[in-house]
Assembly symmetry: C2
Homo-oligomer: 260 residues x 2
């Protein structure tokens, strides 16, 4: 049995919907529920009332302050959205997403599906935390899909594959890095780029960060590659610092020489 993906609800609003999500997770064999900033706090008795007995995902639900923290231990994260924004991330159908999750689970990698809140869905900044975007094929004439229904479709596609048995093994692949490591790399890179005056003009900063993160997320870096890239960032930034220091020192020497 492959470990089922966890479900991460980012800023969910209605406790009834959280309960309905737990119920449908149980229907399709999922159990790891994570909540990021639930609007009305947690726990909420109304969630249990609407779960129709699927209590265990609620009993063991974990609450996080930030989406980054909720995905920190995962090695494959997919984000669902009704409208794929301008992003360089792969856009997957629920079926393709399930295949991707099943392949990762087959390797023993913890995986997760992120769902936005009822009102606004996920922001572009949330989405680039994921390796890919899942879009449910909604009729464009009526896009308002209930949160638990979105979870149902994705969980159902997982279950169909789970029942069909494991996909053919291609031998072990190196695991992609934990998201916490990836976030560490992003933070490191962005701090150094900031220091280097990269984000210019300042109003383009958020979009520039998103584009960078999307490109790096897509690469599905391994732990070793994350370490390598952090070395790259350090080498570039501190290295340039050293070069500047040397240049400054040399100029000073020259000037001193001229003075003497």
């Amino acid at each position: 049995m492959r470990q089922a993906p966890c479900v991460i609800l980012n800023e969910p609003q209605l406790a009834e919907n959280i309960g309905a999500v737990a119920r449908v997770m149980a229907n399709f064999g999922l159990s790891d529920l994570r909540l990021v900033r639930p609007r009305d706090g947690w726990p909420q008795p109304r969630a249990w009332a609407s779960a129709s007995g699927a209590d265990w995902p609620l009993d063991e639900a974990r609450v996080f302050d930030r989406l980054e923290a909720a995905v920190a231990d995962l090695r494959l994260v997919l984000a669902t959205t009704a409208r794929p924004r301008e992003t360089e991330l792969a856009v997957l159908t629920p079926r393709e997403a399930a295949a991707s999750l099943a392949e990762a689970a087959e390797q023993g990698w913890p995986c997760g599906l992120v769902f936005g809140g009822e009102r606004a869905g996920l922001t572009a900044d949330d989405i680039v935390l994921a390796k890919g975007v899942v879009t449910i094929p909604i009729d464009p004439k009526f896009r308002s899909l209930n949160l638990a229904q979105a979870v149902a479709i994705c969980a159902y596609e997982w279950r169909v594959l789970e029942e069909a048995g494991p996909p053919p093994a291609f031998g072990p692949r190196t695991a992609p890095a934990e998201h916490a490591e990836l976030m560490g790399l992003f933070g490191h890179l962005e701090t150094e780029l900031e220091a280097g005056g990269f984000f210019h003009p300042p109003e383009k900063r958020p979009a520039m960060i998103r584009n960078l993160r999307a490109a790096l997320s897509r690469a599905e870096l391994t732990d070793q590659e994350v370490r390598t890239f952090r070395g790259v960032v350090t080498a570039l930034s501190k290295g340039r610092g050293r070069v500047l220091a040397k240049l400054a020192a040399r100029r000073k020497e020259t000037r001193t020489g001229e003075d003497s």
Copy 2:
């Protein structure tokens, strides 16, 4: 664009669920909603409140006293159930059901999906009104699937096929009969069998009727074939009546001859 299947809710209980069904129908491009004996009557304002703006399936929903009447104009009916009972009907996954519905819709045949009420689902008698049974691959550890979620999975699978375009055409097939015609045949057959003492012992009558109906439903009889079979029933029953009448008349003659 193929005509989407209608959704028939048999004895639905909660107006909120009817509204949630309308919403998810709209999400996936379905609009023809039919209600058989809704518990709290119809219309129910709470249904509109929970449809989140998907009003049109509710505005145009039709209410029926009997499931037979709700499916009377359809040429392909599939029934959903969590537990396939002992039945000789085909058991389909939601994906296979969608393929079957799409193929029928491609021929221009009105189709429908029947869903049971929240508490008890469909009875064995309801199910044999259908040509096949759809079973959603639920985790056996937690089978309590919300009604709107069941509709969502089936409607989603329809939508996936709809987006993928029409299936390859195999040329027009003769349409299966309208269900009203089929019901007429069943009623005719069962009345004649009753008169002929077929249902013996009496406690086995319901199961015997179900088995007959399942077998005939599976055959997907055309209008012409239904007429043919009604002729068969008439010929067998009235024909035997004629034979009996002749025999009786002959015996009478013989007796009269003896008397004279």
